[in-house]
Symmetry: C2
């Protein structure tokens, strides 16, 4: 089961940090461009430098896919060098009718052995079911996304009672009774709404992007996203860590940033008396 | 511009038919498995046999992606054998925050030269904008999908006035004023709702799946989806055409099915006095 394994890794590393490997030839340190295989070199250096701080890595598939076949090859090789005690999330935001979603699930859970995936709820339950049927995997459903476009549909009040993002959270709770492997993506840029969603879905693990380059309020996001026991949320930063330096010290600086962010999260937890989780045996 | 070019092809071929190339090793005729490259052989044979009837082909990316790197290679080679007077749609249902959507748009419009794409509206405008900025391309936004899961969120009444799928249609009309290259995916399995959406978005071209294996009512779907001039909609069938026979005659039977469906659509148009489009000069 993904979420218990994730909890275990978080405990071992005392970290709720997820690092996003959004690979981009235009953002990596220019001196790497003379390497034979600069993108792989970059990913490997970042993973080697940061994995002591990271409970998980999130690979945004868009950045790999855009490279065509070499991008999928890069994805495969990046997966092959992942250390054992870290969870790997495909940030793919997929979702389609049943027989197509079955293929997408196959892509990320069989062809590539990810531990978890992000999926889009717009097409409803039967679009998600093929993913959920992989009981060992974690399925993070987009609830409230971190971008401004979230306002267009996710904030609309549905059936006269609640915004769409809360309705999605309600459904995720319902569907989780059957499968037990659902999570929610909840943007850290909307820290107040994070509290609402936590109330709607008290037991559902969150994946919280938007606290790095996107500028979300870390303290509020952490306070509002974690459960009373200090677990149940993973906080993702991508660009603000991996592209923090474009010099020869890029991996070292990425480690500093990752370590700092991990410690900041833990400080917020401890100030809220939420660190009991780490001390369990 | 995609939509005027699509209109031109539809006129030339007197066809509003789109054929979905949902490649699947378990569905292709078993005798092909002894070929060196059965999936490519299948796609090529289907395209060669049916392109006189098809205004467009839709490649559902899930089926290619699931094969890993060989799948993207198959996609590339399938694109390379497409005849000139046919439009190629990436049924990808993508959508992410701006910098990620930019990469997805790059994937399908630059790395692979598709003419159009399907995208998911859940994340709102800034998730779609990077696609829309490719002015020559067509962007079909999921409005009402053909699956039963559409009931979970798309039918919810928002802001006390209309179901979410109509709200999406309303937004698509609004955004189209700027870009002029938007379309809507409207499932043929919900033929009555198709009429509602046509009323909400009179000028927006539709891509209508669900009339083949998914069992939508073709007559109602066609009547309700096309504009008064008989244009503005493309009807997709995948499995019911390409997997109609698993014998040595599979390409021939696919052609028969495609031809029949194209003619059925035209008959419905003519019974509704909607064939003026074909006779324009």
């Amino acid at each position: 089961m993904f979420f218990p394994r994730l909890d275990e890794v978080c405990k071992q590393k005392k970290s709720l940090l997820c690092i996003g490997l959004d690979i981009d030839i235009e953002r990596i340190p220019p001196f790497l461009l003379t390497e034979l295989d600069p993108l792989f070199y970059f990913n490997r250096a970042i993973v080697e430098a940061t994995h002591d701080c990271a409970a998980a890595y999130k690979l945004n598939i868009a950045f790999y896919e855009a490279l065509g076949i070499p991008g999928w090859d890069l994805l495969e090789r990046t997966l092959s060098i992942m250390p054992p005690n870290v969870m790997i999330i495909a940030d793919a935001k997929r979702g389609d009718i049943g027989n197509s979603s079955r293929k997408y699930a196959e892509t990320f859970f069989k062809t590539f052995a990810f531990d978890a995936i992000t999926v889009n709820p717009y097409m409803g339950f039967d679009a998600l079911q093929p993913f959920l049927e992989y009981e060992d995997k974690g399925i993070y459903v987009l609830g409230l996304t971190s971008n401004t476009g979230a306002l267009d549909f996710q904030y609309l009040k549905v059936e006269n009672e609640m915004p769409l993002y809360l309705k999605v959270a309600e459904k995720v709770v319902e569907w989780n009774f059957v499968y037990g492997n659902l999570g929610l993506v909840v943007g850290g840029t909307h820290a107040n709404e994070v509290a609402q969603i936590r109330e709607q879905a008290p037991q559902i693990p969150f994946l919280v992007p938007g606290i790095g380059a996107q500028g979300g309020n870390l303290e509020l996001a952490v306070k509002n996203a974690v459960g009373h026991d200090g677990r149940g949320a993973l906080f993702n930063a991508s660009r603000s860590i991996i592209y923090a330096s474009s010099g020869h010290d890029f991996a070292e600086v990425a480690h500093e940033r990752a370590h700092h962010l991990k410690e900041q999260i833990n400080l917020i937890l401890s100030l809220n008396n939420n660190l009991g989780f780490w001390d369990e045996n």
